[in-house]
C-alpha cells in the first residue's frame, strides 16, 4: 500500500510541470511558486498602484510609507503564489485606515518575460474599486 502511495506521488511530481505551466498562465501566478520547479526559468513581476479620493473629487496617489509598503509587499507575495485568486480586499481594508478618503482604487499589473523576444510584457492588468 505504501509503495503505491509513494509511486503515485512520484508519478504526480514527474508530470506536475505540465499542469503547473497551464495553471500559472490561467491564474497569472508566479511560475517560481507552487512547486513547479520553474525557479530561474523566467521573470515575473507584480506591480501595485493605489489611488484614493472622496466621491466626486480628483484621484490622488496614496503616498508611500513604511506601513503601506509593508502591506503591499505582503499582498504581492501572496498574489505571486495564488495569482488572481488572491484579491486585494484585505489590502484595501488595511490601507483604508491610513487615509481619510472613502474611495480607493487598486491597480494590479503583472509583467512576465517573453523568453523568445527577450522583453518584459504586461500579461495582466486588473483594477479593483472599493468604497468605504
Amino acid at each position: 500500500m505504501l509503495s503505491r502511495v509513494f509511486a503515485t506521488v512520484a508519478g504526480l511530481l514527474l508530470v506536475w510541470p505540465v499542469p503547473h505551466y497551464f495553471a500559472t498562465k490561467a491564474l497569472v501566478s508566479d511560475p517560481w511558486k507552487n512547486f513547479g520547479l520553474a525557479m530561474y526559468a523566467t521573470y515575473f513581476e507584480v506591480g501595485v498602484g493605489v489611488r484614493v479620493r472622496d466621491p466626486g473629487r480628483d484621484w490622488r496617489e496614496l503616498p508611500e510609507d513604511e506601513a503601506s509598503n509593508r502591506l503591499i509587499g505582503e499582498f504581492v507575495e501572496r498574489r505571486r503564489t495564488r495569482g488572481k485568486l488572491h484579491r486585494p480586499d484585505r489590502l484595501a481594508q488595511a490601507l483604508s485606515t491610513l487615509t481619510p478618503e472613502r474611495e480607493m482604487q487598486i491597480l494590479v499589473t503583472t509583467r512576465s518575460l517573453d523568453g523568445r523576444a527577450g522583453v518584459m510584457r504586461e500579461i495582466d492588468r486588473e483594477r479593483y474599486t472599493f468604497l468605504f
Binding site: 509513494f6 506521488v9 512520484a10 508519478g11 526559468a41 523566467t42 521573470y43 517573453d114 522583453v119
Partner: protein, 306 residues
C-alpha cells in the same frame, strides 16, 4: 512474518532483492536502485542530516526575517535530529520527523516562508513519518521515492526552462547581468563588449545574449540539468551520474547561492551511493557545511540565500 528493522539494522551493501510478486508500484520505485541497497543505518543518517539541516535553516530564517518563532522551530528540528540519532528502535524512526513536518508546515505557512524548498523538506519528512514502522520493504520504497525526487528535481527544472524559452537566446541570463549572484559569472563567461552592452541596455527593451560563449553558457544550463536526470535514470551511467549531479548542484549553488536547497539536494543524492550514506562519518557533512556557511554569512551578511 514481517521483517522489522531493529537493533540488528538491515544489512547494507546487499543487492536489492527483486521479488517476482512485486507490483507496478514497487517496480516503479526500484527503477533507480543502485547496485547496492541502503540499510536502516543509512536511512537514519539521512534523516538526521535532513533534520539538522532544517534546524540550521530555520535559525537562519529567524535572524534574516527577524522572526523569533523560527528559533523555536529550529530548536525542535535539532531535537528531532538528536532523537533520530539515539532512537534505539529503528522501526520507530519515522515518528520523530512527523513532529518536525508539522512544525515546518505550521511555521512555514504562518510566515509565508513555504517556498519550493520547504515543500520538498515537508514531503521528505512526511514520507519518512508515513513509513513508520520502518520495515525492509518500506525502507526500499522510501529510498526509491527519494531517488525519484532527485531525478524529478533535475528533469523538471530543466524542462521548465525549455517551456519558458528564456534560455535559448539567453534572455533570462541577460537580465541578470546586474545581479550580484549571477553578474560575476556572466562577466567571466561573456566577452567584455557584450557585458558592457548589457549593463548599458535599456531594460524596457529586448535583452538577449548574442555571443557564442553566452549562448553556449545559457543553453548549457538546462541541458546539464536534463543530462543529470538522464544519467541517473540509465543504470549504466548511474555511477558517473551521481558525481556529475553533485558537481552540478555545487556549481549551481556557487552562482545562485541557495545553500539550503543545495545541501538538502546533495543529502538526497547520497542515496545513489548507499555506501557513503552508511558510514557514520557522513554526519559530519552537514555540520561542516553549515559551519562554513555560518562563517561566510557573518563575513558576508545577506550574501547567501537559505
Amino acid at each position: 512474518m514481517t521483517e522489522v528493522c531493529s537493533t540488528g539494522e538491515s544489512s547494507p551493501g546487499t543487492s536489492p532483492r527483486r521479488d517476482r510478486s512485486e507490483d507496478w508500484s514497487e517496480r516503479w520505485l526500484h527503477v533507480l536502485d543502485p547496485s547496492t541497497s541502503v540499510g536502516i543505518a543509512g536511512m537514519r543518517h539521512l534523516v538526521v542530516m535532513l533534520c539538522f539541516h532544517v534546524g540550521c535553516r530555520h535559525v537562519h530564517l529567524a535572524i534574516r526575517m527577524q522572526e523569533p518563532l523560527f528559533v523555536l522551530s529550529g530548536g525542535i528540528a535539532w531535537a528531532v535530529a538528536f532523537g533520530c540519532l539515539v532512537e534505539r528502535r529503528s522501526e520507530r524512526l519515522g515518528r520523530w520527523p512527523l513532529l518536525l513536518v508539522v512544525t515546518v508546515l505550521v511555521f512555514g505557512y504562518a510566515k509565508t516562508a513555504l517556498g519550493n524548498h520547504a515543500a520538498m523538506e515537508s514531503l521528505v519528512l512526511l514520507a519518512i513519518a508515513l513509513a513508520t514502522p520502518i520495515t525492509t520493504p518500506r525502507l526500499h520504497a522510501l529510498a526509491g521515492l527519494f531517488r525519484w525526487c532527485c531525478v524529478i528535481l533535475f528533469l523538471n527544472s530543466g524542462l521548465q526552462k525549455v517551456f519558458y524559452g528564456a534560455y535559448f537566446n539567453g534572455s533570462f541570463l541577460a537580465r541578470r547581468i546586474a545581479s550580484d549572484h549571477f553578474g560575476w559569472v556572466l562577466e567571466l563567461g561573456l566577452p567584455a563588449e557584450e557585458v558592457l552592452a548589457l549593463l548599458e541596455a535599456n531594460r524596457a527593451g529586448a535583452m538577449v545574449l548574442s555571443s557564442v560563449q553566452g549562448l553556449l553558457l545559457s543553453n548549457a544550463v538546462y541541458l546539464t540539468e536534463i543530462g543529470c536526470a538522464l544519467l541517473l535514470l540509465i543504470p549504466r551511467t548511474r555511477g558517473i551520474g551521481f558525481t556529475v549531479s553533485v558537481a552540478t548542484v555545487v556549481g549551481i549553488e556557487v552562482v545562485a547561492r541557495e545553500i539550503g536547497f543545495g545541501l538538502m539536494f546533495i543529502v538526497l543524492l547520497l542515496l545513489f551511493r548507499p555506501g557513503l550514506l552508511e558510514r557514520r562519518a557522513i554526519l559530519a557533512l552537514p555540520i561542516a557545511a553549515h559551519a562554513v556557511f555560518g562563517v561566510a554569512e557573518i563575513a558576508w551578511p545577506g550574501g547567501l540565500l537559505w
